[in-house]
């Protein structure tokens, strides 16, 4: 795969790792948060931690748009599908996300809801066009990367006067979450020495939003591609900034991120969405200015208005350590539920929901010494493939 495999060269990776080893100052700690699940994935998938010197600590951030979907929004999606009888079109990632009372869209389907996995919002538009008697709701989730297609769908729906289509909007904003992590308490800010900045999000929003963060919080940010060499190079760039006491925003992912980003996509998003005052993130709680709402011009295509959804408040599971993990204050193995009752098949918290979540990644890729395993000792399988 061109422009993919090149960035997975293990020979170069070893050289990069050696260079990082040489670059770190022996007594110093480098606490770097990779904001995005994509980076978490690359780190776990390629075992990058093992290549890095002990001075570097990677902290998993809240950068998985599926994981951070709060219980209340999942409940509303289930309400749409079960109680309002709509056909809910969704990306495959959301099916296992837990709502309250152990519900999920998988279970809602089993209970009779019409929930369909789509690869693209275009599939939902096509379904609504083909079957005018069906009410189609698209479950819009995702960061700035995924928002432009949803914005385009809203524009198309209006243009086509497609009145059996609407969007349940849950798009969230990454810079707001980064700011929140840094602003919430001084300790937190003090614990982070720099950010590995979003990759594909930045393709859309460009470099500018991070420059402001670097300046406001005096933190270095390096926008990094999702391939393992991208991550290593960005770590090196952060180490160098920290050594030099700089706090700039730099761009490692120059092949896909420009200063201004994708202005066409930004304009589409701006036309269809406005910023919410506040939005709940699973694990983080309410984060100001961190999500988008559909503009009133599109009220007819806004499922929240169309079905008069009442905001649902539902608490995260108490013993779940996600909040601390997402803030960089705890590790998955610190959670009592990890790999006992909370597993990728039966996730409790944000971090276990998507395979990119910190707990899921640790479960799948990093659980070399697992905690005491559950005592379920079931008989062997009757069926075999």
């Amino acid at each position: 795969m061109k422009y993919v495999d090149d960035f997975r060269n293990s020979e170069i990776a070893r050289g990069m790792a050696a260079r990082i080893h040489r670059a770190v100052e022996r007594r110093r700690r480098y606490r770097l948060m990779e904001f995005c699940g994509g980076h978490t994935h690359a780190i776990a998938r390629y075992g990058l931690t093992a290549l890095l010197p002990p001075q570097i600590e990677l902290i998993h951030g809240p950068g998985c748009p599926v994981c951070v979907l709060p219980v209340g929004r999942v409940d509303s999606a289930i309400e749409l599908a079960l109680d309002h009888g709509v056909t809910l079109c969704t990306y495959g990632d959301t099916l296992r996300v837990p709502g309250s009372k152990r519900m999920s869209l998988y279970k809602a389907r089993a209970a009779g809801a019409d929930v369909r996995v789509v690869y693209s919002v275009s599939d939902a538009i096509a379904l609504a066009k083909a079957e005018p008697a069906r009410e189609v709701v698209f479950f819009g989730i995702g960061f700035e990367t995924t928002t432009p297609p949803t914005a385009l769908a809203l524009a198309q729906a209006r243009e086509m006067a497609l009145d059996n289509f609407s969007v349940f909007g849950n798009h969230v904003l990454t810079p707001a979450a980064m700011r929140h992590l840094l602003a919430e308490d001084a300790d937190q800010s003090a614990r982070l020495d720099g950010f590995i900045g979003p990759s594909h999000v930045s393709t859309v929003i460009g470099v500018a939003p991070y420059r402001a963060i670097s300046r406001d919080f005096v933190k270095p940010v390096v926008i990094a591609g999702f391939e393992p060499l991208d991550v290593l190079q960005s770590v090196l760039m952060l180490v160098e900034q920290i050594n030099q006491c700089r706090a700039d925003t730099e761009n490692q992912f120059t092949r896909a991120v420009t200063e201004a980003g994708n202005t066409r996509a930004q304009a589409l998003v701006h036309a269809a969405f406005e910023t919410r005052d506040s939005f709940e993130w699973r694990g983080l709680g309410a984060v100001p200015q961190s999500a988008l709402a559909i503009r009133s011009e599109f009220a007819q295509w806004d499922a929240e208005r169309r079905y008069a959804l009442v905001p649902r408040v539902a608490a995260d599971v108490k013993t779940c350590q996600c909040g601390a993990i997402l803030r960089g204050c705890a590790k998955p193995s610190d959670c009592k539920l990890f790999a006992t009752v909370c597993t990728p098949a039966t996730p409790f918290g944000a971090c276990m929901v998507s395979s990119e979540g910190a707990c899921a990644a640790h479960y799948q890729y990093g659980r070399f010494v697992a905690p005491a395993l559950s005592s379920a000792r079931a008989p062997r399988a009757v069926t075999s493939a």
Partner: protein, 354 residues
């Protein structure tokens, strides 16, 4: 190594399957953790036996000497539960009986489940328990299985396909092609009760009655019959298509005709009444615990005596005689002394107005 148990084991499942409130969803069919849990917590304990417990892609079982009998049936009944049984009892007994009527001793079953997303786990558990009970009662082992889950609206609750393996003892040679003119045609008991028990539960058609499915495993009865009657030509269970269609099949195979006596046909009063209600012919309605036997005329009485001594053959009667007939017709002498044909079933048995 730590003090972990040394016996093989499943992945961790987190919480247990909710067999009361839970439902089948697509993950139960995807072959991963949820599939393994369904097997571990439901199927394996219900069907427990050493071969199943091997957990391989195939069960490897011992086999006594003799020829092998093989059969399969897919079961799709709606509703899943009916007076006298459910799709689970049906899936076991239907396949056991197809072995038994061939003179085989049923030994092993396999079971393939196709589950519809949304199926209540409680319903599945009930069906599986029924299968386990029926298998114990029939003295067969369910040694291999498979489970698939399809999206809601792409199945109807649960479909079960069972296959059966039996051994045919030396000297036993039953065959649908062996009926000869002059032979006696026997039936082991009252007709049409399974089909009507199912029908009585259908929405819109619902009626109340004492009719209960006759679903049962016939291998005990067939063993007794084989031991008692060396001239036994063939046995067959008149399931889908009923007595009428099954006798036509035998006539076609054996190149003979039959003459039945209407007054001899064992029909209980509620069965006659329910058929009259809906314009159904009991001769074409399914039985799931009855068999037809054909034997030499001179052995018929002795065979009937043996059948009547078995709980599942208590009402056995001779219903007719095999005749020579170029057209292979099944002819029925009516109670009026007239005659009519009992033809192959055409179409379905549906309630009629005329």
């Amino acid at each position: 190594m730590t003090a972990l148990p040394t016996s093989p084991r499943q992945p961790e499942f987190g919480r247990k399957l909710d067999l009361k409130q839970g439902r089948i969803d697509l993950t139960h069919g995807a072959g991963g953790r949820a599939s393994a849990q369904l097997v571990a917590e439901l199927f394996a304990p219900a069907f427990a036996n050493e071969w199943l417990a091997q957990g391989n892609d195939q069960a490897i079982v011992p086999m006594p000497a003799g020829r092998l009998a093989l059969t399969t049936d897919s079961h799709v009944v709606a509703p899943l539960f009916f007076p006298g049984g459910d799709i689970g009892t049906l899936a076991v007994n239907g396949t056991v009986n197809d072995l038994a009527v061939g003179g085989a001793t049923p030994l092993y079953l396999t079971a393939g489940f196709i589950l519809e997303e949304g199926l209540a786990l409680a319903d599945l558990a009930r069906v599986v328990t029924s299968m386990a009970q029926a298998a114990r009662a029939a003295n067969v082992r369910i040694v291999a299985g498979d489970t698939k889950v399809v999206e809601r609206g792409k199945a109807d609750g649960v479909f079960i396909t069972t296959a059966g393996v039996g051994v045919v003892p030396e000297g036993v040679r039953l065959d649908g092609a062996q009926a000869r003119p002059g032979d006696a045609v026997l039936v082991s008991g009252a007709l049409a009760e399974h089909g009507l028990a199912v029908l009585s539960q259908r929405e819109n058609l619902g009626f109340d009655s004492s009719i209960v499915s006759d679903c049962a495993a016939l291998n005990g009865l067939t063993v007794a019959m084989l031991a008692a009657c060396p001239s036994l030509r063939l046995m067959r269970d008149p399931t889908r298509g009923g007595l009428g269609n099954t006798l036509n099949e035998i006539c076609a195979q054996s190149d003979v005709g039959m003459r039945l006596d209407e007054t001899a046909l064992p029909l209980r009063a509620p069965v006659r009444a329910a058929c009259e209600f809906y314009g159904l012919d009991p001769l074409y309605i399914a039985n799931e615990g009855k068999l037809i036997a054909v034997c030499a005329d001179e052995d018929a009485d002795a065979l009937l005596a043996v059948m009547r001594a078995h709980p599942l053959g208590r009402d056995a009667v001779r219903i007719g005689t095999v005749i020579d007939d170029a057209y292979r017709f099944v002819r029925l002498t009516t109670s009026f002394g007239g005659e009519r044909l009992v033809d192959w079933l055409h179409g379905e048995m549906l309630p009629r107005i005329c």
